[in-house]
């Protein structure tokens, strides 16, 4: 009992999110009879207030203890990722106001689902118990399935949602079977207990099966090949703000689960910041193989795309591959590189989706060819897109360069030079398709009647919010120092 009360005190952001969720649902019921616009303004305002309060509450020092009878670890990883999730939701909520697909749609359920997913993402990033991992992962998934299919009269939205839920249920079913076997092997659901049991007695071939099955579940969440098939279809069919959310939130939480499962449950520190696998299963090779397949496939497939949402889907697959490199480095540096990458990825990827949403208002579709002549129609939007794309490419001095730099450095220091070379080659391929979009915007002549684009105050504010962090890559040094400092104390529990 005492433990639960003490734990709740360290759980303020999540409590605020759940409280806001309850208020939003009740407020939605009370204003059902009001016009859509009024109902929407009220609910969005409430959600903004709740999210802002949660964001302020989430900037805390990690407590360094396990909460709720060792279900959730209150450590550096959670302290870094919690603000990332909440900030993502704030930006996505602002996107819903500007998305043409959601014009005139009742948003009560969407906002409630977004808040549910945000709280569940925080639980996911903290969970250090197999049951908690499964439960939080499913909460995020079910909320995401519904958000993807939110436009119930839209055929593509429905189809995307069905594909997502079928693929997701199979992946998590496989992962669940793996977790049940792991429970049988070790006799405990606690990740640190799993590590202790595996250190005593090697798992044999059964552990290998567990690793593959769990990799399927996590690979689905982070969209890593060969579990990525849902990704392009779902990203295309979902309302664009939801796509933006899926590409950042669940991916970041998936990486948190990956780090927890492999570093806290399947490895032990071997001095000097390095880790070594326990239980006799070589999961480093597994992650390296997944990473190489994921980035290569993502980048090559992206070259062929003509739809900008599909292109960004494959780009997000490729980025997941690059982040996996950090996980395969088997060192604290690798983990730090992933957390830093996730923070920077939030700004560059959400930025690209903002441009897609604003361009959609003007062109009415998501074809890259529709971006022709944007340089003349709106230099502001073109320059913003250039910043986001250069950042995604990883070109200095943009922030994306730092992200890649951290990952490659961690991999090289782990003695995997060839792996870093594969990563650099992939970045070179990626530059082609990002530049293709940019070339269409700047060089290709406009067709037909193309008036100049006008932007409201919200659009400019959002663009500014997302552009500035990408430009001031150097400012990130200070922030990254904090991330680094926090994640020094990462995974120290147990």
């Amino acid at each position: 009992m005492f433990d639960a009360v003490q734990s709740l005190a360290r759980f303020v952001p999540e409590l605020i999110l759940v409280g806001t969720l309850a208020i939003v649902i009740v407020a939605d019921l009370l204003t059902q009879a009001r016009p859509v616009g009024e109902n929407r303004r009220l609910l969005t305002g409430l959600a903004f207030a709740g999210l802002a309060a949660a964001l302020l509450a989430s900037f805390t020092e990690p407590g360094g203890a396990a909460l709720f009878a060792s279900m959730v670890a209150d450590d550096g990883l959670l302290a870094v990722l919690r603000p990332v999730f909440i900030l993502t939701s704030i930006v996505v909520l602002a996107f819903t106001l500007r998305s043409k697909e959601l014009d005139g749609v009742r948003m009560g359920e969407m906002i409630a689902l977004l808040l549910t997913a945000t709280a569940a993402l925080c639980w996911m990033a903290g969970s250090v118990n197999l049951a908690m991992i499964y439960l939080s992962l499913e909460t995020v998934s079910v909320a995401s399935y519904l958000m993807v299919g939110y436009l119930s009269s839209d055929r593509l939205s429905n189809e995307a949602s069905l594909k997502y839920i079928l693929f997701g249920a199979v992946s998590t079913g496989a992962m669940l079977f793996g977790l049940s076997l792991l429970y049988g092997l070790t006799g405990t659901l606690d990740l640190y207990g799993v590590r202790a049991a595996l250190a005593e007695e090697a798992g044999g071939p059964a552990l290998l099966l567990v690793l593959v099955l769990v990799a399927a579940g996590i690979g689905f969440k982070i969209a890593a090949a060969p579990f990525h098939f849902w990704c392009p279809d779902v990203y295309t069919g979902a309302p664009t703000p939801v796509t933006a959310f899926l590409s950042v939130g669940p991916k970041a939480a998936g990486f948190a689960v990956l780090i927890r499962f492999f570093y806290s449950g399947m490895a032990e520190p071997s001095g000097g910041g390095a880790f070594s696998p326990v239980g006799g299963a070589d999961w480093q090779t597994l992650l390296i193989v997944l990473s190489v397949i994921t980035m290569t496939l993502g980048n090559v497939a992206a070259l062929l795309q003509t739809n900008v949402k599909r292109l960004l889907a494959y780009s997000s697959i490729a980025h997941a591959g690059t982040m996996l490199m950090g996980a395969a480095a088997l060192s604290v540096e690798g983990v730090q590189a992933i957390t830093a990458y996730l923070v920077i990825y939030l700004f560059m990827n959400l930025g690209a989706f903002l441009v897609v949403i604003l361009a959609h208002r003007a062109t009415g579709n998501f074809e890259i060819s529709g971006y022709a002549g944007f340089w003349k129609r709106s230099p502001l939007l073109t320059i913003a897109m250039a910043v986001f794309l250069f950042s995604l490419m990883g070109i200095p001095p943009f922030a994306g360069f730092l992200a890649k730099w951290y990952v490659f450095a961690a991999v090289i220091r782990a003695g995997l030079g060839w792996f870093a070379v594969v990563g650099v080659l992939n970045s070179a391929v990626a530059a082609f398709y990002y530049l293709k979009v940019l070339r269409t915007m700047v060089v290709d002549p406009e067709t037909g009647e193309t008036p100049a684009l006008a932007f409201g105050r919200l659009d400019r504010g959002l663009l500014l919010l997302l552009v500035v962090p990408n430009l001031l890559g150097l400012l990130f040094w200070g922030f990254l120092d904090r991330v680094t400092e926090i994640s020094q104390r990462l995974l120290e529990l147990g």
Partner: protein
């Protein structure tokens, strides 16, 4: 008493049947039924291990959680299938292929 191995054979068989169904069935509702088999095979594992491992009750609690989550997921999935059916008048996965490339 039935030895542990028997439970594991049953759960492995259920898992394989479920996976086979997922990969071969083209009707969305049939796929959902196969997915239920996947979840339940894990449940059998969890409860069996919990019974045979000394002092490990966590598995039974986990199985209860899985049952609840599987019910939620089935409800959501059927709602989505209904919604798609209203739009296109079939639930055939091979024909639901507007999105590709």
């Amino acid at each position: 008493m039935i030895p542990l191995e028997h439970y594991l054979y049953i759960s492995a068989a259920l898992f394989s049947i479920g996976m086979f169904g997922v990969l071969t069935r083209r009707n969305a509702v049939n796929v959902l039924m196969s997915i239920e088999l996947l979840f339940n095979s894990a449940n059998i594992n969890l409860v069996a291990f919990s019974r045979f491992v000394e002092g490990a009750l966590g598995g039974q609690v986990f199985a209860l959680l899985v049952i609840v989550v599987a019910a939620c997921e089935a409800a959501v999935a059927l709602a989505i299938v209904m919604s798609l059916y209203r739009a296109v008048k079939h639930v055939d996965l091979d024909r639901a292929a507007e999105l590709k490339g």
